[in-house]
Symmetry: C2
Subunit: 665 residues, 2 copies
């Protein structure tokens, strides 16, 4: 690609014009960064990017991530200008309007050509690490004829200041992700003013210290940009950071270089003056035909490469082609279900007392053996999370892409990277930490749900049952707070059978799933042979009493076995208790009302969960009917803590009995 001989400045100014007009028309938005990064984007798309506007879903395209997502109008403009089908000028005109495909921040699945949802700063960088990991893994698996592309990331000061961005950068440097190129829009301006008030690092030195290839250039001098991008591409043993000195709102006569242009429209006079200075037609959204044509040419540049790639794919061996297609489509492999049933059968025949984290590992053994697309990992808690299996016991390193990522003590970057892995295509990531540290990665879990990314969060040490590490490590409110996230499936399985079923349900569900597993061992509760995936219903009657039920005991996870024991005590006292296992609220709530009513029963109900009682009133009458943990835990053994909080079969039976007696009054 040799478009540099042409004068690209007018083409960059077309982007600036769209940014100005779109924000002016909306009345709000963020023109500054888009105007500042227009030159960089133009040189990237003209001379370096591997993509084809008409095929935005080409598997082997370069990925473009706008980590500073508030500059969304830049990306929307690029999609329109390069001819991505479904992104029209009218969409640019509808920027930030209700129902448009051009919302305030880029959303994957909502706009063709958008790779990941960005806006929460730093996470675009984190997801880019995942995209680059996926690319490297698929390249090693299928060969560079099939997969060989780059991840380009626009990032601002905010992304580099955020902890998640720093964790991601550190991880990328450690792993030597040579196909990851970050374009740092160094405009010296944050929302609150000059970066001098809060951010005075020597960024180049810092990134060199963490293993990056660092380049610097003027972000408005095309030859400099071009040389820097070429150099970034040439270095494939390290990620590259290109520090581009830019002026925010470049082209605006009085507001450029100030925080005033970050998140506000220019205003009529300033907008007109800017457009004049940039040689743009005064009429809003007008693009000179030759400029649009030039942009469309850039958009078509990848055609030959795309065709060549298709030709190579068509020559793959049949079984490889089939596997590749299956993985990119996200289909489950043949034989998985049978293998799972076989495993369930084994545990039905020989029930085991296990920590559910161990059950998770046993389930993952089967899944990872059958599904080469699964990439595991942990935030430095492998031996505690039990996330490593025989099949994933190959470490992802700078030298080779194994199936296990040692994310280090970087929970947030792990979660963001997993989202990137999931969104790349061809990979299903899972990764572990303690449930309490879901806090550290919470916004990435939320983004997974918003993006419907199939990311699997394996959270162990799921209650006070973890014991002596005490309240800082004991989740209490976490189950409630995670269940509140729309579109996230939270599973808390009771034993190995439910665990296998939960993973299978997660694989077929749309969007992410989070699993809460115990540190401590519990008896298996699912003993009756069945090929039905009961967990996929979210909740079901585990123990049906001999006579019409007097009370329903609802429990999740490690407390199900306590409820089963309590039901036995109640039976001795002539009280007929049904035990309901409720491993996944969101799946249960999707069942028909008749099913839900039949499971819960029209009788007094008691819920048992070693966690906050918050939210349980969805299923029981009042929080007084929940045996839970209403305060922070303490440093003591699991048995002592369970007793302290009344989480014993005897107490459950007592409370249930009381409840039944009260209902007769």
């Amino acid at each position: 690609m040799t478009n540099l001989s042409k004068n690209l400045e007018p083409l960059a100014n077309v982007i600036r014009g769209l940014a100005i007009d779109a924000v002016e028309t909306a009345g709000h938005g963020h023109p500054g960064a888009a105007m500042g990064m227009a030159d960089i984007a133009t040189v990237l798309y003209a001379n370096h990017l591997k993509f084809l506007g008409t095929s935005p879903d080409w598997h082997d395209r370069d990925r473009v991530v706008l980590s500073n997502g508030h500059a969304s109008i830049l990306h929307y403009s690029l999609l329109y200008l390069t001819g991505v089908p479904g992104v029209e000028l009218d969409d640019i005109k509808a920027f930030r309007k209700s129902g448009s495909i051009t919302p305030g921040h880029p959303e994957v699945g909502h706009t063709p050509g958008i790779e990941v949802t960005t806006g929460p700063l730093g996470q675009g960088l984190g997801m880019s690490v995942g995209l680059a990991l996926a690319e490297q893994r698929l390249r090693d698996e299928f060969g560079s004829d099939v997969c060989n592309h780059r991840t380009w990331v626009f990032a601002g000061d905010g992304c580099l200041m955020e902890g998640v961005g720093q964790e991601a950068a550190s991880l990328a440097g450690h792993l030597g992700l040579g196909h990851l190129n970050v374009l740092y829009d160094s405009n010296q301006i944050t929302i609150d003013g000059s970066t001098a008030i809060s951010f005075t690092e020597d960024t180049a030195a810092k990134f060199k210290a963490i293993g990056w290839h660092v380049l610097e250039a003027c972000g408005h001098t095309h030859a400099e940009i071009n040389e820097a991008l070429s150099s970034a591409k040439a270095e494939v043993s390290k990620p590259s950071l290109v520090i581009l000195r830019t002026t925010i709102g470049y082209g605006a006569p009085t507001k450029s270089g100030t925080s005033g242009i970050h998140g506000s429209k220019l205003g009529g006079e300033e907008a007109a003056a800017a457009k004049g200075a940039l040689g743009l037609p005064p009429k809003p959204f007008e693009i000179p035909a030759e400029h649009l044509k030039a942009w469309r040419t850039f958009g078509a540049q990848g055609a030959a490469a795309h065709k060549a790639w298709q030709a190579r794919i068509s020559k793959l061996k049949a079984d490889v082609a089939k596997d590749y297609a299956r993985r990119m489509q996200g289909d489950l492999p043949m034989g998985l279900h049978d293998a799972l049933e076989k495993t369930k059968h084994f545990y039905f025949l020989e029930p085991k007392t296990l920590a559910t984290r161990k059950a998770s590992q046993l389930a993952l053994e089967v899944f990872t053996e059958k599904m080469p697309e699964m990439i595991g990992g942990s935030a430095d808690l492998t031996g505690s999370n039990l996330t490593k299996t025989s099949a994933t016991d190959t470490v992802f390193s700078a030298a080779a892409s194994g199936r296990y990522v040692n994310y280090g003590v970087r929970e947030f970057a792990m979660a963001a990277a997993m989202n990137g892995l999931a969104l790349h295509g061809g990979i299903i990531p899972y990764g572990g930490t303690f449930l309490v540290f879901s806090d550290y990665m919470r916004n990435a879990i939320r983004l997974a749900a918003l993006m419907k990314a199939k990311t699997l969060f394996v959270m162990t040490h799921d209650s006070i049952g973890l014991g002596e590490d005490g309240p800082t490590h004991q989740p209490v409110e976490h189950l409630a707070s995670l269940r509140a996230i729309p579109g996230l499936h939270v599973f808390r399985p009771a034993d190995v059978i439910e665990t296998i079923e939960a993973y299978e349900a997660a694989m077929t569900a749309n969007g992410p799933s989070l699993f809460a597993f115990s540190r401590q061992g519990v008896a298996q509760v699912r003993l009756r042979q069945s090929t039905e995936n009961l967990t996929s219903k979210g909740g079901y009657v585990l123990v049906k009493p001999d006579a019409p039920r007097d009370v329903t005991l609802i429990a999740t996870g490690t407390e199900v076995t306590l409820a089963v024991e309590a039901a036995k005590i109640l039976a001795e006292r002539g009280v007929h208790a049904a035990v309901v296992s409720l491993p996944c609220w969101s799946l249960f709530d999707r069942q028909g009302k008749d099913y839900r009513d039949s499971v819960l029963g029209d009788v007094p109900r008691i819920a048992v969960e070693a966690a906050s009682t918050f939210g349980w009133t969805r299923y029981v009458n009042s929080e007084e009917d929940v045996l839970g943990v209403a305060e922070f835990g303490a440093s003591a053994s699991d048995k002592e803590l369970y007793a302290k909080f009344g989480l014993t079969p005897e107490n459950i039976a007592r409370q249930a009995h009381k409840k039944v007696e009260a209902s007769f009054v």
Copy 2:
């Protein structure tokens, strides 16, 4: 202090012995880091630390923070050895046992001499930044005769890998916190093995790049440690990082230098061999008398300095002494309540339509003017959060400690630093970001609640009402997830009156408070003159119908005014609706049952909140009785989004009417 001429090695080994024996007796725990850092701690306490064992609450003591909190036995041993009252050898023997003052991780308020609760990695470093900020501010305010101490932080690899640790380090470097000294236990081992598998930065170069003074020393050579600590103290214009090369589990013959000694007891044989090699008595917990005596001498070294400080304090001018005492005791100033009542009076006379974030700023104007202990800030959203006031319009910088901290785009470090500011004494911190980004700082909010720190989290843009920035920026599940945190007061005030009352309630409450404020303007709902702080009750009847009520409309924040309008519509239709404003659930739940019942009413209830319906079944029958936002928002104007989700007076009235009619069936 010149204890270096003595051989300190046996004294360091005393710590190692206690670590070995305590973990061995408990059967679990983390001996490795404590054994590795014993030499550093010994040199620090022998020669550098300003403290007095018998007065662990001396205001001007050096603060010691164990950011790698799993090494708690190190700190407990130091407290016992230096004679902190209430920490006895029996407490060391009870390590990690139920009810002991020596839990798995250090907890402030639980053990004398523990400054902050640590364990969630990186946050100790974050809180240390807050402790150092507080020290510098108080030094500038009251003079170095009153306040002039250091913050010493033990930190491990995990703390430096965590995003919050990196944000904190970046902020500390930017602010040139010269009294902050971090002792980095560089043992090359993480839980999953060698740091080589996940953490390969050039830490020294990185910290230099972000403005730190960096030193390196062997962590087992006392002269080297001593020199490094002296050098760290000498540099007062930058924070210092002392990189100390250590061996994890130093002294254990086969397990030292391996991850196997990180979180497990040594085992009988290894323990005995280690104690033998370290010259320790074989009997568990036995300390040779001369060694205990030497340690107690170190603990008493600060006596003269403490006495001199007391003498200086006694010579302060009466008004200064009074103000200092008030602030260190955490008492509210005289005149505050009257000023607040005057402000409320003003708004009762001239009601205003305001965004509640603006109401927050108006309230903060009064509080910050009366309370010099308040230090404000924002994570680069000052103009959006409206957290700056006339009184706090002095920037905290390397040159001078103002009353406003530009935290940069570092939400998690801001929250952790605020916790440190709150726990130092003499300071009440408040700081802002968008409510959706409470996710980024969530575990620090949790720690604030666990520590009962008076930290004020000012969260604006609290619902879909923020409009076109779209779903990445629109909180939905956040109110529910925050209400689930035990001990956190979540306030969502409806107008300026409730906002003033909420801040006043927060000031008198125990522990942290979080405020959710709107971007968009709403009409004032509190119009009836009253000096009663109704918000401090958590909830109250705002609108009482003329006749016995048929239905209760419960709402919070910006939806209260919608409920008030709905009640008017209902009145026209002959339905008598009471409107309940419920700005703080946790305070409401503390009221007596009679009060709560009288407020909520024994009639059908409808709840209205522009947020997830999760948890509302605490007050209404079913989530079907909640008008809320059950999915992610969208990029559109606030009015369009409110209409889309049915959050209009008409729809509220319609649903309420239906509910009333159904109740008659």
